[in-house]
């Protein structure tokens, strides 16, 4: 028994080492599945220090297959990670797998990752949202949007926040709808994301919302609208920027934003430096 244990440990060390050194070699799907199954308990060890080796072993592989030219290996790894998400595991392990997909996941991962948006564990939900924010496929943006109606509070604001960096015009209707949310944090998040998207539709939705904004929601919407003007100015669209600056006047608009809008106008007119 003792001899068998020693052989098992030795073979694990050799196998891990061979994985660690052979990162440039094509990924064997079944071998990887075996390795991850062995690493999984360690990746969620109650002793955080013991998570180091199994987590880093997986991450080394994931980082390596992200190299341009290794798309086939990346697809294999993602396939295995997606299948693994269904396995029974503790939250730290699932968070770790979702984090790897945040860095290398593609459209084939979206459905599996999106399931975790409604997990009972907050760290898993957040890791899933961050992964979808970063996965470049349009399906990821669609998954974030789809999750909004059944969310509220912090999760809803976070989902709205994640749509901004993605920059997809397809998110504008959902975000525009959130500009009238009862939760001002959600309004803030939606306005901020619309400003990041910055398409004509996004800008128009901010303009429309500003007109009807309450005292509480006017400030975040106006800040976002100002952001749009600044970005337009940076890209040489001075007329469009000036139109926004002209909208950002009047007592309803907070003083600081009016001042910033005035600065923007003076800059376009060549009266002050950027």
């Amino acid at each position: 028994m003792k001899y068998a244990k020693i052989c098992l440990i030795a073979s694990m060390i050799v196998l891990t080492a061979s994985f660690a050194t052979a990162q440039d070699e094509p990924i064997d799907k079944e071998e990887l599945k075996t390795k991850i199954a062995e690493w999984l308990p360690g990746m969620a060890d109650d002793d955080i220090g013991r998570r180091n080796s199994p987590q880093q072993s997986l991450q080394k592989i994931c980082f390596a297959v992200g190299t341009p030219g290794r798309e086939k290996d990346k697809a294999t790894v993602c396939e295995v990670l997606v299948e693994t998400l269904d396995a029974d595991m503790k939250p730290p392990a699932k968070v770790w797998i979702l984090t790897q997909l945040e860095w290398i996941g593609g459209k084939e991962c979206v459905a599996a990752v999106a399931k975790s948006l409604t997990d009972g564990d907050e760290t898993i939900r957040d890791a899933a949202r961050r992964a979808l924010e970063n996965i470049p496929a349009p399906e990821a943006g669609a998954a974030l949007i789809a999750a909004i109606p059944n969310s509220n509070g912090e999760l809803r604001a976070s989902l709205a926040n994640s749509l901004g960096p993605r920059g997809e015009d397809s998110a504008v209707p959902a975000l525009a709808g959130l500009l009238r949310d009862r939760d001002t944090a959600v309004v803030d998040a939606a306005a901020n994301s619309l400003s990041k998207i910055g398409t004509p539709k996004a800008i128009q939705s901010l303009k429309d919302a500003l007109r009807d904004a309450s005292d509480q929601t006017c400030t975040p919407i106006a800040h976002a609208y100002l952001y749009c003007a600044y970005q337009l100015r940076l890209t040489g669209k001075k007329n469009e920027a000036m139109a926004i600056y002209n909208d950002l006047t009047g007592d309803k608009i907070p003083k600081g934003i009016r001042l910033a809008a005035m600065r923007g106008k003076l800059n376009i007119m060549g009266k002050i430096n950027p």
Partner: protein
């Protein structure tokens, strides 16, 4: 000492900027410095956000300027906050300093003109942008941001709202005597190679779980970083080795030294076009290549070594080089620039370019592959997975605005 004066410098400037021409108004004596010699329009009311080791040092440094009135401190670690409050109250001989664990209670105060940010790196961008949106000027410790995208967002916010922002590297001018001026003046001719010595990249954190002390707002300390259990090292300045909060030695000393090197070589508003990690073969050191061929290496025998077309060529006469305004080094430069609405020595674009170099170096180290970079678009080219590291999703509900 003095209570908050409604005619603070901020109120003065805001009124001056937005008021229409009116009849001359009576100016209170306090506004002319009748009580302590500092007129209201030369008084900078400040709050300090992040008052652990380094932050409290900056706070005390700023309080050394008669123009600065510190009125509030913020830290999610109660001991840090309490010590900082005692320091402020001791300086002014009262107990007026307010404490909070939430930076928004400082950035949203109308009576505060400026903030000092001494938090761990992962908070710098969010707080800076929030301060800008609320009309505050900012002194922010280095490294000024956690990612390339954060740096650019900070630049945009500072410019959008017309704020004065100073980054926190006092070493660019402070550590090397006359060397920056001499390098800029051509002591080594045209610079071809620079060797910069600083620590290595950050990595993942495997510190064990420790029960969160009562009263410490761990959620607020973590902020946008992924959740993990508390460990005391993290709140005592030991966060720097860990990627979720900082960039390791690459950004800790790298923000100083890469920044100093780039400034001296006059490439401090540029970015590299290639970043090549050591490959165990012909590339021995992480190498940044700039347009025009200049190479900057991570590693060297001295802090910074320059090699150029000349061996060592004395420099005489004036050298066109930005330096501090006012008196009192980097902090004095910030104070002077707030009062005169000037661009500080370590302006936000310079901060961003210096820290970008550090971040790109880290990405190359983590991924162990060379990167091509477009410094104008600030994108890693031809490597979409590497480019995902330019910006990092934040833990909810935090985001870059």
């Amino acid at each position: 000492m003095r209570r908050t004066n409604p005619m603070t410098r901020r109120g003065f400037v805001l009124k001056a900027a937005t008021a229409t021409v009116a009849a001359p108004m009576l100016v209170p004596g306090a506004a002319l410095g009748a009580d302590d010699g500092t007129p209201a329009n030369e008084r900078i009311v400040m709050g300090s956000i992040g008052v652990g080791g380094r932050g409290s040092g900056d706070m005390r440094g700023l309080m050394g300027f008669k123009e600065v009135q510190m009125v509030a401190v913020c830290d999610p670690v109660p001991e840090h906050c309490q010590r900082a409050k005692e320091s402020v109250d001791g300086r002014y001989g009262n107990s007026d300093c307010k404490m909070t664990a939430d930076f928004r209670e400082i950035t949203r105060r109308d009576d505060i003109d400026a903030v000092m940010i001494g938090t761990p790196d992962h908070w710098h961008a969010i707080i800076t942008i929030d301060a800008c949106k609320n009309g505050k000027d900012i002194f922010c410790e280095k490294p000024e941001c956690l990612t390339v995208a954060e740096g650019r967002a900070m630049v945009n916010a500072v410019k959008r709202y017309g704020r004065v922002f100073s980054g926190g590297s006092q070493r660019v001018l402070g550590d090397y005597g006359n060397l920056p001026r001499e390098v800029r003046g051509g002591r080594f001719g045209k610079i071809q190679e620079i060797f910069v010595n600083c620590g290595g990249p950050s990595g993942d954190c495997y510190l064990p779980k420790v029960d969160t002390p009562k009263g410490l707002d761990w959620e607020m300390w973590l902020g946008p970083a992924p959740w993990r259990p508390y460990h005391p090292n993290l709140v005592r300045g030991g966060f720097r080795p860990y990627r979720d909060y900082s960039g390791g030695g690459m950004t800790d000393w790298g923000a100083h030294r890469f920044g100093a090197a780039m400034f001296a070589a006059n490439i401090h508003k540029q970015g590299p076009i290639a970043i090549t990690p050591p490959n165990g073969d012909d590339v021995k050191q992480l190498t940044f290549t700039f347009a025009g061929g200049l190479k900057m290496y991570h590693g060297g025998t001295n802090n910074i070594t320059y090699k150029g077309t000349e061996e060592d060529h004395p420099v005489s006469g004036d050298v066109d080089m930005k330096t501090y305004r006012g008196r009192g080094g980097l902090l004095g430069d910030f104070v002077e620039c707030v009062l005169t609405r000037s661009e500080p020595f370590r302006d936000i674009e310079t901060c961003h370019r210096a820290t970008s170099v550090c971040h790109l170096g880290n990405i190359a180290y983590w991924l162990k592959r060379p990167l091509q970079y477009d410094p104008d678009r600030e994108e890693i080219v031809g490597d979409p997975e590497a480019n995902r590291w330019i910006n990092r999703p934040m833990r909810g509900p935090w985001t870059l605005s």
